[in-house]
Amino acid sequence: MTKTLLVTGAGGVGKTTIAAAVGVIAAREGLRTLVVTVDPARRLASALGISHLGDEPTPHVDEPLLWAAMLDAAASWRAVAMRHADPDVATRLADNEFFQAASEHFPASQSYAAADQAATFVQARAWDLVVVDTPPSGGGIDFFAAPAQMADLVGGRLLRWITGGPLPGRKLLYNRAARPMLRVADSILGSNLLERVAEFLVDLRTTYDGVARRGREIEKVMRESSIVVITTADPVPVREAVKFYRELPGLASTPEAVIFNRSLPDAWANPSVPPKTTAELRHIAELWGSETLRQRDMREEFSARYGATVATVPLSDEPLTDLDGLALLMSQGSGIPWERIGVG
């Protein structure tokens, strides 16, 4: 039975680092582990032994039970088209100039593609644990709503809105006389653009059955996964973490823990200053002391308000260039519910 851990949270909080570090710990505990990342920093990618984008899991040279895969978020629509459309439609879709716009405007497509790929790895049953670093597009929580949103999109919602009624065939689409909406759009945008967009959407619709069916499988994998939320003690990512605690129970399951990354040790809150300390150093120690207090208050408030298991991973000055560094960082963490996230 493959266990799955989804590592979520706002962008910029060290989500990828923690996903990688959990993977290293799991592999060293004897679990065959795959870490799936989306956009790692270069140093982290090389620590994991992956150098290029691609969907193939790569075994680590020095760590026998660890694999890593780096997903290409930009390839998302292409992957959906190739998987679920007839070959000639797939080629037409893949070459379509509206692809990029649609994938930028519809972050769910990136999340869908990442979730789809992660679910494929889980279903392969080749690993004991699959750790998924979720893409930050659309604010993180959208990852869990992506399968349903994607099915809705390709299912013709946009087409129905454009035509103001039934799903059109190619011919019906051009009968604009009866459709005031299309006349308005024509006058603003010019008719050429409108036709090209509509053709794209008609093609996209042929993938509906495949996307919807696969979406249900992906949702099943998500519901059976454990989830941890990563944040730092800053207002913006904490607001994002709160959203996960409020909204996730309806979409998947309650997070196992919120991990405050880059936490300062409690002992720094009121450091005893040796008598001969210079004023400059005393001042710096006071600054970090006030920061430590602020962080601690924020964690305590989160725990009290949402009944969350609150864990910490310390702020580190070590550049993370190898697996030992990642493992060390994680082992200095406290409060991490290892068993509940499938490790140990």
Binding site: A102, W161, S272
Partner: protein, 281 residues
């Protein structure tokens, strides 16, 4: 930056760009300017710094002389259809707006021009001395800045095209527009800032940006390491500081904002931002 009519603040997610945008808006207000602060991203990003609850499409006065609004795309579109394009006989605006928005999901630049267009109209009208836009992250800012030009290329005819030309000109005008990129002295924000700056150099859409580096640590000249916690703090501080110097050298900032130790609320952060910016500019 306060001499311009429009300051667009962008940066990688999580670098504090909303706080900087709020600080700039407050600074403008303190200098007696009529300021409009525009929240372009998800609701709450900017408004939380003014502690006045959620913002709406209609600008609201959050401090004397400082108005703030949130861009709601459907409302911007309705306004655009009714006022700017002067469309005759469009009664079912709701359905039209929805259809238009659906189209815009699959067509490049349409959504973005509705948003950036609204901001540029506010600049053009003489209600404000300064418009500060808390813009989308650098990963997406290109498609907004490029929207007027993309429309010219994509749409051969149609009324939206005619609008795009003065918008392109306003964005390119160094007396009118300033882009500020907020970054941190860390690896990923630095990489993204460098990529954005290369893109900007190739595209020539806006005048050269200013780079604002946030959360810079003060140098600790004292080299001692006493036993115990104070020594730990000193060592970590020096080590983080020298790591920061490495990234600062990659993208030399025009302005450097300090790490704000121990500040709890977004309101406090924005007020300090504005003090720091005042000292620096």
């Amino acid at each position: 930056m306060l001499d311009k009519r429009l300051v667009i603040v962008s940066g990688k997610g999580g670098v504090g760009k909303s706080a900087v945008a709020a600080g700039l808006a407050l600074l403008g207000q303190r200098n007696g300017l009529r300021v409009l602060a525009v929240e372009m991203g998800s609701p709450g990003g900017l408004s939380t710094h003014f502690s006045t609850g959620p913002l709406e499409f209609k600008p609201r006065e959050v401090r004397p002389g400082l108005h703030a609004m949130h861009i709601v795309r459907s409302e911007a579109l309705l306004e655009y259809l009714s006022l700017q394009l002067r469309l005759p006989g469009v009664r079912r605006f709701g359905a039209v707006a929805r259809a238009f928005d659906a189209l815009a999901t699959a067509a490049p630049a349409i959504r973005e021009i509705i948003t950036i267009g609204k901001i540029l109209w506010e600049v053009k009208e003489d209600r404000w001395d300064l418009v500060v836009a808390d813009a989308p992250p650098t990963g997406q800012i290109g498609s907004y800045l490029r929207a007027p030009r993309s429309i010219s290329e994509l749409v051969p005819t149609g009324r939206i095209r005619a609008q795009s030309e003065w918008m392109t000109a306003t964005l390119a005008d160094a007396d009118m527009t300033q882009l500020a990129i907020v970054t941190l002295p860390e690896e990923l924000p630095t990489t993204e800032t460098l990529e954005t700056m290369r893109w900007l150099e190739d595209e020539h859409i806006v005048p050269p940006p200013v780079v604002i580096t946030n959360r810079a640590l003060p140098e600790l000249e004292d080299k001692s390491s006493p036993d115990g916690v104070v020594g730990e703090i000193a060592n970590l501080h020096r080590s983080l500081w020298s790591e920061q110097q490495h990234w600062l050298a990659q993208v030399p900032p025009d302005l450097t904002l300090p790490y704000m130790f121990g500040l709890f609320t977004p309101g406090e952060v924005a007020a300090h931002m504005s003090d720091e910016l005042e000292t620096l500019t």
